[in-house]
């Protein structure tokens, strides 16, 4: 069947595109600094940003990008200019090569391969390594006499492992480790970074993968088992720089290179501890670190804040952030409304068309439903090569997620509209087109609106994940809060998001009353 979109559909779509901001001009714009979503990456990226700013270079921060894949794709496609990465991760997770060689050899291999394949540069290492640290409780180490990974092999079958999901899957993670040390850890639980230490301390698990520089190992009094047979590749931290920044901004490259060799493991661990254990703001911690290195001017004497100042009550904290929250909320609203409007403008006419072509309808709807089953993070990662990072791919992903409930409800509502009324209208000489326009569509409005409301509430929630690809919104404090184990920060995003979902549903409920033809009472 042939169907031409009515003028208002085309108009709607083009006005939708007009709302999406065009990509910023590449020349002399701010340097875009990214990070991955864990505290050390936040601190390092913030140090990059501050040293650039102190040298008079404009900076835009895109911190907390989803994971290695998202941050790297963002760098490769020019959506960000620089982020902190680890040589071992570059070797194994990005290049898919086998982990072997000394720290210097690995650094040379990754920098050559990245330069040749993508024109991405590894600046000189920052000076510390952050490798995986396999850790156990102190009493386990004492009871079983563990000091290195070889000691572990005789008792591993009694231990319950709690590892991060990517460690369980990566060749430089659990599979390789088990083989290298002939370990037989039978029971393995997949745990996120934020809960792993707590689970180990409580005895839920007996062995975890930590980071050698993280601040929590000391706090929970854990013993790190030595990698005595050198399984883990060297993980030297360094800034990785995209081709555009390398070519056009020697001043920025110079500024970032000043950090080379300035951070040893002890210093980095101390910085991580201030954020993870002492709950200090990572911006302050980064500024202090740069000041201590003499790279920027800072307060000669650090003011030790009162504990109450550091941890104000939640309400005070939220109130203090109100302007920021307002800004994030309006960005969130933009993401939700634009994607929802787009999905409505596409899914409703599509549902009407499908009602006329019922044979194919179920397949089309199932196909759209399949989109719903793609994990949001995966969908966002797929988008980066096509659309980069930021608002545009987030809108597209949210648009795709909103389609299904609206399409399903439109189709069902149109198809199942009052059979007697439809039949009698046909018997009196209404054409199929008139039946659709004057009967099926008006009668389906309550069902269609229910689909829009479902989509809206889902979108408000899903839009928080947009922070993983740097689109902003209320996901920003949630992602950062998760990375920094800061529950107040998480709540400062989660509470407004919940309120927003409630309000959006309420407003759409009012709209439903307005657009529902009288004679069909809402809520009957």
């Amino acid at each position: 069947m042939s169907w031409r979109p009515p003028a208002w559909v085309i108009l709607g779509l083009s006005s939708l595109l007009a709302v999406i901001p065009a990509p910023a001009a590449a020349q002399r714009g701010p340097v875009v600094v990214g990070s991955k979503p864990f505290s050390e990456s936040f601190i390092l990226a913030e140090m990059f940003a501050q040293i650039l700013e102190s040298r008079g270079i404009g900076v835009e921060r895109r911190l907390g990008l989803g994971a290695t894949e998202i941050a790297f794709q963002a760098l490769r496609t020019g959506a960000i200019d620089v982020y902190p990465e680890y040589t071992g991760t570059g070797l194994v997770a990005i290049l898919n090569q086998t982990p072997q060689g000394t720290a210097a050899q690995v650094y040379r291999r990754v920098s050559r391969a990245f330069r040749e394949r993508w024109a991405i540069r590894w600046l000189p290492p920052l000076g510390f390594e952050n490798t995986y640290a396999i850790a156990v409780r102190r009493e386990s180490a004492e009871t079983d006499g563990l000091s290195n990974l070889t000691d572990l092999s005789s008792v591993a079958d009694r231990y319950v492992g709690g590892f991060s999901p990517d460690f369980i899957g990566r060749p430089d993670g659990l599979p390789g480790l088990q083989e290298h040390y002939d370990l037989r850890i039978v029971e393995v639980r997949s745990l996120l970074q934020g809960v792993k230490y707590e689970a180990l301390a409580l005895g839920e698990v007996d062995i975890i993968d930590g980071y050698s520089t993280d601040g929590l190992i000391e706090r929970y009094d854990l013993i790190v088992l030595e990698d005595d047979l050198n399984f883990f590749p060297p993980y030297q931290a360094a800034p990785v720089v995209g081709r555009n920044l390398w070519k056009t901004r020697p001043d920025a490259i110079r500024a970032l290179s000043e950090l080379s060799g300035m951070l040893d493991e002890e210093t980095m661990t101390a910085l991580n501890r201030r954020v993870e254990v002492d709950r200090e703001d990572f911006v302050t911690v980064a500024r202090d670190a740069l000041a201590d290195m003499g790279l920027v001017e800072g307060p000669a004497l650090r003011i030790v804040q009162d504990l109450d100042d550091l941890r104000p009550p939640l309400v005070t904290y939220l109130w203090a952030r109100r302007m920021e929250t307002l800004r994030l909320t309006s960005r969130h609203m933009l993401l939700v409304l634009v994607s929802l409007l787009g999905a409505t403008v596409v899914a409703i006419p599509l549902g009407l068309v499908l009602e006329r072509a019922r044979k194919g309808a179920e397949w089309v709807i199932r196909g759209v439903g399949l989109l719903q089953t793609i994990p949001s993070i995966a969908l966002l990662a797929f988008m980066i090569p096509l659309l980069g990072i930021g608002v545009v791919p987030a809108l597209v992903a949210l648009f795709l997620y909103s389609l299904f409930p609206i399409l399903r409800n439109t189709y069902t509502g149109i198809r199942d509209a009052d059979v007697t009324a439809v039949e009698s209208a046909r018997s009196l000489g209404m054409t199929d087109g008139q039946i659709l326009t004057y009967i099926r569509f008006p009668l389906a409005i309550p069902v269609i609106m229910a689909g829009v409301r479902t989509a809206a509430v889902i979108t408000v929630g899903t839009a928080t994940l947009a922070a993983f690809i740097g689109a902003g919104g209320l996901g920003d404090p949630i992602v950062a809060g998760l990375a920094l184990s800061d529950s107040r920060m998480i709540l400062s995003g989660a509470i407004p998001a919940a309120v927003l979902a409630f309000l959006v549903d309420g407003v759409l409920g009012l709209l439903e009353r307005v657009v529902t033809p009288s004679g069909l009472a809402v809520g009957d």
Binding site: T420, A421, A425, S427, L428, G429, M430, L443, G519, A521
Partner: protein, 281 residues
């Protein structure tokens, strides 16, 4: 003969023929010779739904101005037979004509707009007012003043438009809704009306009132009526002739008097007895 050519004129004006003017002029020529062209005609109709034989070689003819009732149990094929005439059902074999014209030469949409129709359960559009519902067919046919025609039809069925015109179907009683459905069928002043169980699902008093109202109305406006009902008493009260249908075949087609006096099959007799209308009484 004069009456039939009037039906023919109406249909030649309102329906048109897919086959074009040749068929029409042939038909016109036919009219001058024939005195027996029925308003509704069905010959040797067979209709199956899957394996079920719904109409088994049925023939029926309704004269201009006649009120014909189709009586039978549910599943007897009454509604299927009724819907042959507005092309909502296509027979597997047999010929169907309206005003002497074979229906398969007529545009179905224009045919339907020219025939009044009351569906089971009324089938009013729930989101339209009573007036707009009633004005549906005049509006579809782009007639001069649909609302005036609708108001006139509403008055005919005893619902003053000033009081009822702005209401929605859900604000009416069951009997009032059936009256609106009837007004909707009448509004465009069709020559032929098809009624499918117009009195079903009404309480006894409402039903009796409505039957009486419809009876006097039909007498007054003189249209051709084919009405389906499963209640033989209503049929005997209203119809000029009653056709008793059982399992896709006619048991008897006769006037109420004849039917009462001499039921031709045990089934018809049983039907009459059960309704307390048998000759024995």
């Amino acid at each position: 003969m004069r009456a039939y050519s009037r039906v023919g004129r109406v249909f030649s004006r309102e329906i048109g023929c897919e086959a074009g003017s040749t068929t029409l002029s042939l038909w016109m020529a036919e009219q001058t010779r024939s005195d027996e062209v029925p308003a509704l005609g069905a010959e040797d109709i067979v209709k199956r739904f899957g394996d079920i034989l719904v109409l088994d070689n049925v023939s029926l003819s309704v004269a201009k101005g006649e009120v014909m009732a189709l009586v039978g149990e549910s599943g007897a094929g009454k509604t299927t037979l009724l819907r042959l005439f507005n092309r909502m059902v296509t027979p597997d074999s047999g010929r169907v004509s309206v005003g002497g014209l074979p229906v398969d030469t007529l545009n179905p949409v224009r045919l339907r707009r020219s025939i009044g129709y009351v569906q089971q359960e009324g089938g009013l559009l729930p989101h339209w007012t009573v007036l707009r519902n009633t004005a549906l067919v005049p509006w579809l046919r782009a007639m001069a003043s649909p609302n005036d025609l609708a108001s006139k039809a509403l008055r005919l069925v005893g619902l003053p438009p000033e009081e009822f015109g702005h209401r929605r179907p859900r604000e009416l009683s069951g009997g009032q809704r059936q009256r609106v459905a009837l007004a909707r069928a009448l509004a465009a002043e069709p020559e032929i009306i098809l009624l499918d169980e117009p009195f079903r699902a009404l309480d006894a008093i409402t039903r009796a009132e409505l039957v009486e109202a419809v009876d006097s109305l039909l007498e007054r406006i003189g249209v051709t009526v084919l009405m389906v009902t499963n209640d033989i008493r209503t049929a005997l009260d209203i119809a000029d002739r009653v056709a008793v249908l059982r399992a896709g075949r006619f048991e008897q087609v006769a006037s109420p008097t004849e039917l009462r006096a001499s039921p031709s099959t045990p089934y018809v007799k049983q039907l009459l007895d059960r309704a307390g209308e048998g000759a024995v009484k």
